[in-house]
Symmetry: C2
């Protein structure tokens, strides 16, 4: 039981590392079992197929990411009582976090899933969908609080604005990968921060 959990974790660990570096389909099961020091039979004992691995990988990844967001924006709220300021601080912390990752952001598994649609079954896509909608709700709550204190300098939909956080992060990751400039993602987040600042700041500063 405890042993099974450990093995499963080891599989997910080595798989996650490989997938973030090379992509999902470029990571073979043979390779995973070699790194995890088990056999192919052992792998299929824990996962029905590669789809099940993908699903577990996404679910775990999303959990970790949510925890990270929770901590980060909780800290940001600690640093300021003002909703706008705490959002701005949170985004700044996020940008710094991503910037300080050695080889840039490890990449987001969600995007991989979105772009390799037919590679995964509907179950995987549904997990992915829920995660993104969860982010929308998360940021929507924050922007609602901000909009409660400050008038908007340009009337925009707050759901769309919430989506923009995820959108800019995902887009930034793609850009940094495409041109090989790891700092791009952090830069893009800072631009989003600039937008939010201009959108809600009563006086242009």
């Amino acid at each position: 039981m405890a042993r099974a959990r450990e093995t499963r974790k080891k599989i997910l660990d080595v798989a996650e590392e490989a997938v973030l570096v090379k992509g999902f389909d470029a990571t073979s099961i043979d390779e995973i079992v070699a790194s995890a020091e088990i056999t192919k039979s052992g792998f299929f004992y824990h996962f029905r197929d590669k789809n099940a691995l993908a699903r577990a990988l996404i679910e775990r990844h999303i959990e970790v990411e949510n925890q990270l967001f929770d901590d980060l924006f909780a800290r940001a709220r600690d640093l300021s009582d003002d909703p706008l300021q705490s959002v701005l601080i949170g985004l700044k912390l996020l940008a710094e976090l991503i910037e300080n990752m050695p080889d840039g952001h490890p990449g987001c598994i969600v995007a991989t899933a979105a772009y390799q649609d037919r590679l995964f079954d509907s179950d995987v896509r549904e997990v992915n969908r829920r995660a993104v909608l969860g982010w929308r709700r998360r940021f929507r709550t924050m922007f609602d609080a901000v909009a409660g204190c400050y008038p908007m300098n340009d009337p925009v939909d707050l759901d769309h604005l919430s989506d923009m956080v995820s959108s800019v992060i995902e887009g930034g990751i793609i850009m940094s990968r495409a041109v090989g400039e790891p700092q791009i993602t952090a830069q893009q987040i800072m631009l989003l921060r600039s937008y939010i600042k201009l959108l809600f700041s009563p006086a242009v500063q």
Copy 2:
């Protein structure tokens, strides 16, 4: 000669359609040759391997996209002499264009390449890189013109701002795919437009 070009075009056409729907690796060569009504031998006569197909696909896609951007922003410049206004008009036209596509944006091959890194050789990645850097230069020119007329309400790097256009588009495509809401990409572009408006507008409107 002319026959060869036609066959090659047909291969690229059917491949592009399949790739945009299912992803690159989920599209088999057997499937492509069946749709193009040729044989496997015929396929490999035109392309050394699947990498060569990917490269040709990306190159063609980028050309078409550049042409589209050229036309769109040329039209935007026709509609207003003011650099800021023409950028805002261009983005609005772009958002409308994407919104009016039947099943949302067909998806961007560049992102696929960026996320399936190891699937492609360095040649393909280089083509991809040049395309993204080309977009940076394109939008940088436009923002330089805007910054020449209007002071910025928040001092940001214009290269980063130029990247944000591509970034928001790519991120928007991912988001719309992930949650199955095709209109997201257009919404995100409109938010970018809102940012640029606030960033350069002398008076908050």
